[in-house]
C-alpha cells in the first residue's frame, strides 16, 4: 500500500487538491468539516512534497518521471519531478498551508456567510492544485490548461468579497489575463507548428534542429510567450491589473495571489524558456538582454510606485511588481548563480509576501484602518502581528540572516558573472527602495503614541499561521541548506538542457 502511494505521489500531489475542491460544495453547511478538509489536504501535501524533495536530494537530482495512463511521451502526458519541480512543490505546499490556517474562523467574517467561504476554499484548492501541476508538468499544452485553471481561480478569489470594487478589479484582471492566455496559447501553437511536439524535451530537441529554417516563427513564439506570461506575472508595463486585484481581495486571497499565484506563471515561463528554447536560442535571439532590461525597469518603477502609495495593501501590491522584476532579471542572466538567486528569491518572496499580507490583513480586520499614516502605535497593541510584519520587511529588504538576503546575494554574483554592473547597481538600489517603502510603517507602528482603543492580536490559528511564516523567513535565511541545494540543482538542470 505505501509502495503504491509512493510510486504515485507525483500525481497525488496534483489531483488531491483538485478532487477535494470539487467535493467541498456538498459540505457547504458544515464549515468546520470544510476547514478541516482543507487543512488536511495542506498537511498531506506538505508531507508528500517533502518526501519527493528528499528523494530528489538523496538521488542527486535524478528526475522522477510519471506517465499518465502508462502512455509515455510523445504519446502521453508526462509529469516530471526534477529539482525545479520539487523546489516549487515545496514552496507551494509550505505557503498554502499557513494561509489556509489563517482563514480558519476568520474568513466567514471577511467574505460573509458559510456558502461564500466554501466557494473561497474551492477556488483556493483549485489554485493550489494548478500550481502544483505547474511545478511538475512537462507538457506545453498542460502548461496552458493549468495557467487557465490558476487564472480563473485567481479571478474568483479576487471577487470573493461582495463589493462592487472587487467585481471591477476581477473583471479587469480577467480581461487582461485572458488576453495573456490567448497570447500564451498562440506562442505554444507556433512552437507546436514548427516542432510537432508538445512534450518540452522533445520539442526542445526538434527546435534545436529546425530553428534556422523558421527564425521569424521562433521570434513570434518567444515574444507571444514573453508578453503572455508577462501579463500574468505582472511584469512592469503589463502590471496594471495587479494593484487593484491584490488590494481588494480578502487577505488570505491577497497572500496566496501575491505569494504563490504570480510565481506559478514565472515557473512556467522559466520552464518554457530554458527547457524548450534553451540557452543557445536565448543568446541567438538576444532574449536574455530583453529580460534583464525589463527586469531592471520593473524593479525601479515598481519600487517608486510603491513609495507613492499610502494604502498599505496597495503598497505591498506594488512591491510585488518590483520583486517580479528581480525574478525576470535573474532569468536573463542565464548563469548558475543568477538562476539559483532567482529561484531562491521566488521562494523567499512567496513566504515573506504572504506573511506581510496576512499581518496587514489581521491589522485591517482588527482596526478597520487601511492607511499607513493611521497606524500609529499598532506595534504596542498587536505585538505578534507587528513582529511578523517587521521580520517580513527585514527579509524583503535583504538584511543578512533573513531569507531575502541569500537570493539577492546570488543574484548579485550572477549579475557580476554576466558582466552587468548596471544590473548589480539596480539590485542594490531596489533593496534600498524596498527599505524606504516598508520601514516607515515599522517606525510609525512602534515609535508613535498609540491610541486608546482596545486592539488585540488575532485568534490562535491566525497567530500560528503568522508565526509559521515568520519562522520560514528566518529558517530560510539562517539555514538555507536543503533549499539552496535544490535551487542550485534546479539551476544546473535548467542550464544543462540546451
Amino acid at each position: 500500500m505505501t509502495a503504491t502511494i509512493k510510486a504515485n505521489l507525483p500525481v497525488f500531489v496534483v489531483i488531491a487538491p483538485l478532487f477535494v475542491a470539487f467535493v467541498l460544495p456538498t459540505f457547504a453547511r458544515r464549515i468546520r468539516l470544510v476547514e478541516s478538509l482543507v487543512i488536511a489536504v495542506g498537511v498531506l501535501g506538505l508531507l508528500g512534497t517533502g518526501y519527493l524533495a528528499s528523494l530528489i536530494l538523496i538521488e542527486k537530482g535524478i528526475p522522477i518521471i510519471y506517465s499518465m495512463g502508462g502512455w509515455s511521451a510523445p504519446w502521453g502526458i508526462e509529469l516530471r519531478v526534477d529539482s525545479l519541480g520539487a523546489f516549487f512543490l515545496l514552496v507551494v505546499a509550505g505557503v498554502s498551508l499557513p494561509v489556509a490556517l489563517f482563514g480558519v474562523d476568520n474568513l466567514t467574517h471577511e467574505v460573509g456567510g458559510s456558502a461564500q467561504t466554501t466557494r473561497f476554499y474551492v477556488l483556493y484548492l483549485l489554485l493550489s492544485g494548478a500550481l502544483a501541476g505547474m511545478a511538475v508538468t512537462s507538457d506545453l499544452f498542460n502548461v496552458f490548461v493549468l495557467v487557465e485553471v490558476a487564472t480563473l481561480s485567481c479571478c474568483g478569489l479576487v471577487s470573493a468579497r461582495n463589493h462592487p470594487r472587487a467585481a471591477e478589479a476581477a473583471f479587469n484582471y480577467l480581461i487582461l489575463a485572458t488576453l495573456g492566455s490567448a497570447l500564451i496559447l498562440g506562442g505554444i501553437g507556433f512552437l507546436y507548428i514548427i516542432t510537432g511536439h508538445l512534450n518540452m524535451g522533445l520539442a526542445s530537441q526538434e527546435l534545436g534542429r529546425v530553428w534556422r529554417d523558421y527564425p521569424h516563427v521562433v521570434w513570434m513564439a518567444a515574444s507571444f510567450l514573453l508578453v503572455g506570461f508577462g501579463v500574468k506575472a505582472a511584469l512592469f508595463p503589463l502590471h496594471v491589473w495587479l494593484p487593484d486585484a491584490h488590494s481588494t481581495a480578502p487577505s488570505p486571497a491577497s497572500a496566496i495571489l501575491s505569494g504563490l499565484g504570480v510565481k506559478g506563471y514565472m515557473i512556467c515561463f522559466t520552464k518554457v524558456l530554458y527547457n524548450v528554447f534553451g540557452t543557445t536560442l536565448m543568446r541567438e535571439f538576444a532574449m536574455h538582454r530583453i529580460l534583464v532590461l525589463l527586469g531592471m525597469i520593473a524593479i525601479i518603477a515598481g519600487s517608486i510606485l510603491a513609495l507613492a502609495q499610502d494604502e498599505l495593501k496597495r503598497r505591498l501590491a506594488f512591491s510585488t511588481v518590483a520583486q517580479v522584476g528581480y525574478v525576470f532579471l535573474g532569468l536573463g542572466f542565464a548563469n548558475a548563480s543568477g538562476l539559483t538567486g532567482t529561484l531562491f528569491h521566488m521562494a523567499s518572496h512567496a513566504v515573506i509576501k504572504s506573511g506581510l499580507f496576512l499581518a496587514v490583513g489581521a491589522i485591517i480586520t482588527t482596526t478597520g484602518k487601511h492607511r499607513i499614516s493611521e497606524m500609529a502605535g499598532i506595534g504596542k497593541k498587536m505585538p505578534i502581528t507587528m513582529a511578523v510584519f517587521t521580520i517580513g520587511s527585514l527579509g524583503l529588504a535583504g538584511i543578512p540572516l533573513f531569507s531575502g538576503f541569500i537570493g539577492k546575494w546570488y543574484l548579485l554574483s550572477g549579475s557580476l558573472e554576466a558582466g552587468g554592473s548596471l544590473a548589480a547597481v539596480v539590485i542594490i538600489a531596489g533593496s534600498v527602495l524596498c527599505a524606504a517603502y516598508l520601514f516607515p510603517m515599522i517606525r510609525i507602528a512602534y515609535f508613535e503614541p498609540a491610541p486608546v482603543e482596545d486592539w488585540q492580536d488575532p485568534g490562535v490559528p491566525q497567530r500560528i499561521a503568522l508565526v509559521l511564516l515568520a519562522a520560514g523567513v528566518v529558517i530560510l535565511g539562517v539555514l538555507p541548506g536543503p533549499f539552496l541545494e535544490l535551487a542550485k540543482g534546479a539551476a544546473l538542470e535548467l542550464l544543462g538542457s540546451m
Binding site: F144, E148, L152, S159, P164, A167, F171, I175, L179, G186
Partner: protein, 125 residues
C-alpha cells in the same frame, strides 16, 4: 510579388487568424463597453483556435477514424482539434465568469460602460 501572393493564397487560414486576432485585440483594448470587451476576447481566442486547427489540417485528408477499406489513407492530425476542444471549454468558462461579473457590476453601478464606472468610482473617492 508573385511568390508572396502564392504564399498568401496557400496559407490563407493563418492570415485569417492574424486578422481575426488583431480585430479581437483592438476590440478588447479600445472599446469601453464591457460586453464588447468580452466579445473581443472571444474573437481573439477563436483566431488562435483557427490557427491551431489549420496547422493540423491536410488538404484532402480523411477523418482521423480508422478506415478498414483504406488503412493507409492520409488523415488530418487530430491532436490540434482535441487540444482546441479544451481551449473552447476554457473560453466558455471565461465567458461565463465574465458575464456573471458584468451582471454584478451592472447591479451596483447601473451601467456596463467601463469609462462610466471609472468616473463613478472617482466621484465616490
Amino acid at each position: 510579388m508573385r511568390i508572396l501572393l502564392d504564399k498568401l493564397i496557400i496559407n490563407y487560414p493563418y492570415f485569417a487568424a492574424v486578422i481575426l486576432f488583431i480585430i479581437g485585440a483592438l476590440t478588447v483594448l479600445t472599446r469601453s463597453n464591457l460586453f464588447k470587451k468580452l466579445i473581443g476576447i472571444n474573437i481573439m481566442e477563436s483566431a488562435i483556435f483557427l490557427m491551431f486547427i489549420a496547422a493540423g489540417n491536410i488538404r484532402g485528408g480523411a477523418v482521423p477514424i480508422l478506415d478498414e477499406a483504406n488503412p493507409r489513407a492520409p488523415y488530418i492530425n487530430p491532436v490540434p482539434s482535441a487540444l482546441m476542444l479544451t481551449g473552447i471549454v476554457v473560453s466558455i468558462s471565461v465567458t461565463a465568469f465574465a458575464l456573471a461579473l458584468i451582471i454584478r457590476l451592472y447591479q451596483s453601478y447601473g451601467t456596463t460602460d467601463a469609462r462610466r464606472i471609472a468616473e463613478m468610482k472617482r466621484e465616490v473617492t
